[in-house]
Symmetry: C2
Subunit: 659 residues, 2 copies
Amino acid sequence: SVNPDLASERQTASFSVEKLTVWLDGGEEHTQKRRAVVEAIERDPVFSRENQYFQSQNERYEAAVRKAVHLQKKMHEMGWTESGPEFKYIYRAVSGDIAFLLHRIFIRSISVLGSDKQIAKWIPLATQHKLIGSYAQTELGHGTYLQGLETTAVFDITTQEFILNTPKISAMKWWPGDMGRSATHTVVFAQLYINGKCYGVHPFIVQIRSLRDHSLCPGITAGDIGPKMNFENVDNGYLMLQNVRVPRENMLNKFCEVQPDGTYVRQGSQKINYFTMTTVRISLISDEVIIPLMKACTIAIRYSVVRRQSKLKPGEQEAKILDYQTQQEKLLPQLATAYAFHFINDYLQELFNRVYREIRKKNFNTLPELHAFSSGFKAMVTQYSTSAVQICLQACGGHGYSSLSGLPSLYTRIIASCIYEGENTILLLQTARFLIKCFRAASAGQPVPPSVTYLAAVKPGKCPAKNKLEFLSPNIYTEAYQHMAARLVSSTAAKLQDLIQSGVKKHDAWNQCTVQLAQAAKAHCHYITVKNFAETVEKLKTEAGIQKIMKHLCDLFALHGIFSNAGVFLHDGYVSGAQMDMITASYLDLLAVIRKDAVPLVDAFDFTDKSLNSALGSYDGQVYQRLYEWAQKSPSNKQMSPAYERYLKPLLHNTQSKL
Amino acid sequence: SVNPDLASERQTASFSVEKLTVWLDGGEEHTQKRRAVVEAIERDPVFSRENQYFQSQNERYEAAVRKAVHLQKKMHEMGWTESGPEFKYIYRAVSGDIAFLLHRIFIRSISVLGSDKQIAKWIPLATQHKLIGSYAQTELGHGTYLQGLETTAVFDITTQEFILNTPKISAMKWWPGDMGRSATHTVVFAQLYINGKCYGVHPFIVQIRSLRDHSLCPGITAGDIGPKMNFENVDNGYLMLQNVRVPRENMLNKFCEVQPDGTYVRQGSQKINYFTMTTVRISLISDEVIIPLMKACTIAIRYSVVRRQSKLKPGEQEAKILDYQTQQEKLLPQLATAYAFHFINDYLQELFNRVYREIRKKNFNTLPELHAFSSGFKAMVTQYSTSAVQICLQACGGHGYSSLSGLPSLYTRIIASCIYEGENTILLLQTARFLIKCFRAASAGQPVPPSVTYLAAVKPGKCPAKNKLEFLSPNIYTEAYQHMAARLVSSTAAKLQDLIQSGVKKHDAWNQCTVQLAQAAKAHCHYITVKNFAETVEKLKTEAGIQKIMKHLCDLFALHGIFSNAGVFLHDGYVSGAQMDMITASYLDLLAVIRKDAVPLVDAFDFTDKSLNSALGSYDGQVYQRLYEWAQKSPSNKQMSPAYERYLKPLLHNTQSKL
């Protein structure tokens, strides 16, 4: 039975939850397919996550391998394909808690960077799990700055082989998933040397473990890097190479090739070698960031209408904590953010598809824009979502801190997304470099991509809104964001220019502006997110109730951003102090409006209880009962600790038995 | 040997690290005593934390009990006393990784709330570990709002006993430390009923486990609440009571008593029952928050001069990451915060001592100020420090995410401090209530404590600074903070007043102002912290080098706060946009200045390698070597996972053995 406090929230929904779900999925057929996949996975006991919170690292790894291997069979049975829409739903259903995720990146990198011949050889072996692949890029001493990688691959013309080496400890590959215990093969990124000349970083397929008995191949040192903040399911590994030889055919050579005589031939951009990272960056935004954020919102909001604490009105019963303004102000902006990011993800997917079509025709012109945007949005989305999940966790008080709430694992997982696939600050600075370039070009009247033409249009001005209601107009707030982003980009460009003109060297000047450059890049992404949300709501053709609540969420997302970053809007007087008070008033008013639909808005994400795996967030809201039942399963409650016999008994046995 | 990149940082220190350490400790004799305690603990293998990162929850608990029991012996041997200064140093040396912390709170609550007779009976038993105590306040459904506790204690006049009950599941005690597996006794907070009348929450000593065989006593259900985000060393537990009888003498009765005939007698304030929490709140600020923050700064800053990434100048070798402005901007404000909080802790200790002297004379007049301040500062310090440690972790890139860096455990531990001993938002609102009261009193010309007289002095005005150097004057920035805090308090008081005058009911009006009230309380605490830092530097009598660098840190702390909260300073024009640019310039300049002394400034915290327990943060900076060596110890590298035989071998054995 559903907790009555939660049930009553559903009776007053101002829109159809089912219709919103279908719209978020992109149509009825998608919803049906998603539910069918999720159901098939959840019915299968192999995929159970019931004991997950009580498992050790070793047990988690073993379960993850079991699931990955079983999934292979299951996909075959069900007719699901790797490249079909099902994989997204499978990933959602297993909550990423499987092995061989890097094996998938191994496959993707060969598909993107390999020749037709290489694809024909390796992809069938990999997709049938006749080998387990990994992707060995990061080194102990080298992360996002790939040009600095130290692993070497020297071409030996006499044997037609590459000789791979780890010249020092900082060059050891470190972090690659599936490599610590599982992988038999990996794509190694190494500096290519031919006749003593370095040609930069290239990818090589290297076998690291025997296919017969899994022992390490000659010249290979490898193992697990030890415990991490999360990802116990993944065997992140290390790898040292000592004179490891691979045939010439093992360098992935769709875009670059070493010919038998040692001639180096390049087709297209060197940057294409990093393209796998760009594709991974975009897919992780949805799978590893937005879905966990939606789950955290679901858990925290459902719990906040079940949990009662203190009295709002004297003499009444204790109030639902979601009725406190401070709790609304913690959670509802995160809910609006989850929707905003769902829509910006669609925007990025479209951009990606457009660019990828061009790349396959070997046209690399649009790659810089995709690179700049995927970098900036990856940084913004991961950073905001990490902080959002943290807020959800803390908003559940002590119980949020229990693993059984599901929130600690969501949080410790999502925070890693700020670091992997490119450290966020470095990514933001790459976006900033692109913006400064476009700003200068646009100011000089040269053509720039449509998304950044606004940069040239910055002018002093004042926000025209005269009362708090006018701040609910998308034109008003979108223009405020646009003005603010353009101002930050142009003023930082000016500071950069001034420094250089005053004699500071270019690279020093750049370094002295980086705090502000990163801020400008974030501001740009924030602006595009607000604009895209407003346009999505504008175009929305569905029932009036959904349109209305989406408009409220869009307003909340926008005004929350102004309220929390007031300084950059007030700075040049575009928004006045009096207007900031109006914005604050509208913002706080919206909280009370959206609060009424908070539960239906998270119900629409349509997570099953099994997928949430949370004692606080289940659909029926029986939180205390479930916390108590789940705690019973803890290994600590199964037997008396040896600590009693060893340490406590000797202390206590002299005390008189009844005090 | 020390990594040369780290060694070179120490050669250019602008002050004596040893002298700074001694000053932070409060004098030579304290430093000596601290080092002696730390050395004695670290030399003893029982206290080793070497394998901590590889242990399961059960192993951590067992080790924690072993350490706690051994510590008892050790203290006796060494002549260290519970109440002496040693315990602080012991706690620092064992990094809180011991059992029986709640046992200490059990002792403290009896000392504070018990009569002389109760103290004489229970304290010797407890200090000799002839029983293990816990402190059972929080319930499944009730946290910070103690009046809402549902556990009952009914006085039975015929047997002269209290009958304790858990009337429903939400009333189950949940979270108390040392209760899941260890405790034999606990202080239970329950609603006292005499002849059907409720007298509110009172503390009762209840035995829960047999002293003979540790089995649960009749009427008791208890166990471990399961896995959490950290604190595997602590057996947080649950407790249900069914008609559990304790003698009349087991109610702690220094301030309230039930006489044999059922007469209820109170001496002093009902609030005194929560006084244990206030004392715990203050001691946790130093032990559980500031020390971990200092450790995180030490690890991240040392690592940031060893780690090199990317090139700052073309043609040069890769740069130390601390030479990037963005990295400085992440870490150096956190370092300044650690110093600021060290000094505010002294301020709170003094306030506490003053109030406690009064309370022992049964004068409760100063309790509200102590309560308001300990609440607000607890909230501010824990929240800022949590975010600071998170920044340190993320600033170390991927390696920060490895448990071996030490940062994940510091982070997951410190984040809990935002929740335990009072949820931060609720605490801030208690501070706000006090501030609003004082503001009204002061405005009406009534006397208020000296720390809040500034509230009545708010007037419109403009910051007088004319260039970026003038913003390095403590008077300038302290006044800006004062103005801002007073404005936020007074404008929120005005909003509250307006709402009530417009007919909104008092409690609704309060709720509609809580977002701004919490902001005002934080602003007040921030102001006092800046003021206290500036005054500490002002009074500082030590070598010139230390005075100078402390002044820089104080400036950085203050300007960072303005830079990151620009909106509240710009709002009414007290600071103009042009002035904000000067502040930003001064702030960014300071980063480059303090960067030069960053390593000596963390060295001065004087943490041993064993106490940091970090592969990234050790004194010698051999980070990559240590990461590699420590990873070898992981259980995953000790044997092949059963997953190979079970799942991988069947897949791989059909592949041809060499590809």
